[in-house]
Symmetry: C2
Subunit: 425 residues, 2 copies
């Protein structure tokens, strides 16, 4: 009999699991809150007016046009009965399964810091990006109407978190400010529009090689980003940020890229979780004691060969998704499962035009123009859908040739709304 | 001394007035609630997943990069003192002027019909389009989860108003349903997804030539649109629409393209207005008794040579904007003003692939493929910005070649929100 797998989450992990399962004839129900797969690595470019939302999103139903055995269902999984083997959606529907793949990802974590949930803007879901874009542009409009605001830090954006998202966001924002908004606001002293990047570790891009970390920090500083390392945010009130070294920084816009926590689902289901909410998994990525439940991507407390927890980025999710698909088919065929072996394909981050760092396997490190071209090429290649690739290519070529950013629109009504999913404390 | 003109509204009328004034050295303050000029004729294509919002919007500040004498100000004009010659913004700022151009446009009118303000979706502002797109897609997702909803009209969209917006929206929706969503939802009987177009007059496209009206109705019906003429909406409750001929239609989505009313500003300023809120104007488009106040576009009760009120579309606004710019300069130079002479350049509306109607000057009528190509070409040509043209061309080519619609994303959280500006009763 055909095995029926419920996959929760249409991100890199869930999508790859569903595709691999479908290609081997399994029946799949893919459940997501959104009707599209999001290419998260380019989300910061939508937030900085470089790309359209639709350039980095691909309709989930379109992925499976040729696979009638995959059923897409938009909804939120709020519970599951792991013994009776069904999940429960927010509308009360029960969806039975033979195997369950949890790939629901992570959400922005505010670590309980006062003011963050109310005042900071997250960047995880697609709708967050045009909202953040609108907030930044609105601060400039407000300062243009009341120039005295500039001295109060109205044009300062603080980005908390020096991982790839924070670094790429910081680099793209200074470019937006100095090359685009300086022309849009000739009466404003845009040189006073600061981007402050705060990282609690000693250096930005902590998981990268020492030379990449140094190069990234140097490039960010040269481009005008204030890089503050070794300090944490203690409190936030919408116009100021207080750091634990005693400083307070005036910043009207606060971007929270400080960290993610796994969605609450594993804990709700009574599974063992780590401190950051990830589900404890066996070597084959199944849940100990629940051989029909599998965890993939940001949600999995999976480790590499050296015992290090895997980073919450695309590659572990993609590889994990494919791995659990194979193991489900093996278990269904009565075969023993195999342990998950993560292959590190390297890490990349771009700082801006002609500047990126890449740590590749076999000790290869790229930087500068070469790293930047590698970054562009790889992202274009891994983006889903030919139309999306064309549109991204067109926008990149345009932005490169003209220093323009065509999508700098304020579409939201003024409000300090957070990520659609809220932040987890 | 340089004349200072305040232009309220960055649509076709205000933008053309500001450009013409600036090119003759006048100082201009252009005030709009949005930070972009919107190419409204293609708004329905954003609402039906064919184009990106940024494809049809152009940043106002970018329009005037090379014109430092034009100052763009984002804000809402809430009052004016026509004797002291200043306008008042919502934040209390007073902006003085030598001449005032009111080009604030029109808003969706619900004519006081019960339920319309709560349940109908307007299509005037850019943010309305992704919202409408999300609502339509959400109805399909809901029906996919609960197929019994289909029999209750859950997939039926009623469009009220048989003008160009209603006709183009209806044509684009049936294409979206039959060519795209039918593939996305293989388990749904998408042939039961109806589009109902309601027009209170005897025929759709009332201002068009008889042959264009007939052709448009015939093409709409052939493509599967239910065209109901000669009837009005009496009441709406979110799932049903009651018409004045006694029928009630089950329709979970209601698009209100029935009519516009000028924004409330002229009436608030104590100007004489027509029944639909337009300001009464002299032959030169100034306000009788207020030689320093000028009205342009949808807001002006201007007439053509035959004494017919001009339609509330792009051409009268573009021509009116240029006209008042010239008259302001003439009056400032002590010359007599000239009457506004409207040149009818014709009307066009597209019904769908290979189908459009165009009434051009000298009695030329186009239809079918020729009309459709003329429509595509003209809209591409009049769109502002090279990047936008490229992006629209890319999307059109893609949609044409693949029958795909790449931007079918649900970005809004579920809610029945109306146009950002609300409807006027």
């Amino acid at each position: 009999m055909t095995v029926h797998v419920v996959v929760v989450g249409g991100g890199f992990g869930g999508l790859n699991a569903a595709r691999a399962l479908a290609s081997h004839g399994a029946r799949v129900t893919l459940i997501d809150r959104e009707n599209f797969h999001l290419f998260q690595p380019l989300l910061y470019q939508v937030a900085t007016s470089g790309l359209n939302p639709a350039d980095i999103a691909y309709p989930l139903r379109a992925v499976f046009h040729a696979a009638p055995q995959v059923q897409v269902r938009i909804g939120e999984v709020v519970n599951a009965d792991l013994d009776a083997r069904h999940v429960v959606l927010a509308d009360g529907t029960r969806v039975p399964y033979d195997h369950l793949v949890l790939a629901a990802g992570a959400t922005t974590a505010d670590f309980g810091i006062p003011g963050v949930a109310e005042h900071a803007l997250g960047l995880k879901r697609l709708a967050d990006a045009p909202r953040l874009r609108g907030e930044v542009l609105r601060r400039f409009e407000e300062a243009d109407a009341k120039p005295e605001l500039v001295a109060q830090g109205w044009l300062t954006t603080m980005i908390v978190g020096g991982g790839p998202t924070g670094v790429e966001m910081a680099g793209a924002l200074v470019e937006l400010f100095s090359k685009v908004l300086a022309k849009d606001f000739p009466r404003l002293d845009v040189s006073r529009a600061k981007v402050v990047l705060v990282e609690m570790g000693d250096e930005v891009l902590p998981p990268f090689s020492p030379q990449s970390r140094r190069h990234a920090a140097e490039q960010l500083r040269r481009r005008g980003v204030d890089v503050l390392t070794g300090c944490r945010v203690q409190r936030v009130d919408g116009t100021h940020v207080w750091l634990d070294d005693g400083q307070s920084v005036s910043a009207a816009t606060l971007v929270w890229a400080a960290g993610v926590t796994a969605v609450a689902l594993p804990a709700q289901l009574g599974l063992s979780t780590t401190r950051d909410g990830r589900a404890v998994v066996s070597e084959d990525l199944s849940v100990p004691g629940h051989p029909h439940v599998w965890i993939v991507g940001d949600l999995a407390a999976a480790k590499d060969a050296g015992g290090q927890m895997l980073p919450q980025v695309a590659q572990p999710a993609i590889q994990g998704g494919r791995h659990v698909a194979q193991q489900i088919l093996r278990r269904h065929a009565g075969l023993a499962t195999r342990p998950f072996v993560y292959r590190d394909k390297g890490s990349m981050a771009t700082i801006g035009r002609h500047a990126a760092v890449a740590d590749l396997p076999w000790g290869i490190h790229l930087k500068g123009v070469v790293g930047w071209l590698a970054w562009l090429f790889l992202h274009l290649l891994t983006l889903m859908g030919f139309r999306n690739r064309l549109s991204v290519l067109l926008n990149w070529a345009w932005n490169y040739a003209t220093w323009d950013r065509g999508t700098r629109l304020i579409l939201e009504t003024p409000s300090r709304r957070r990520s659609g999913e809220g932040m987890a404390a």
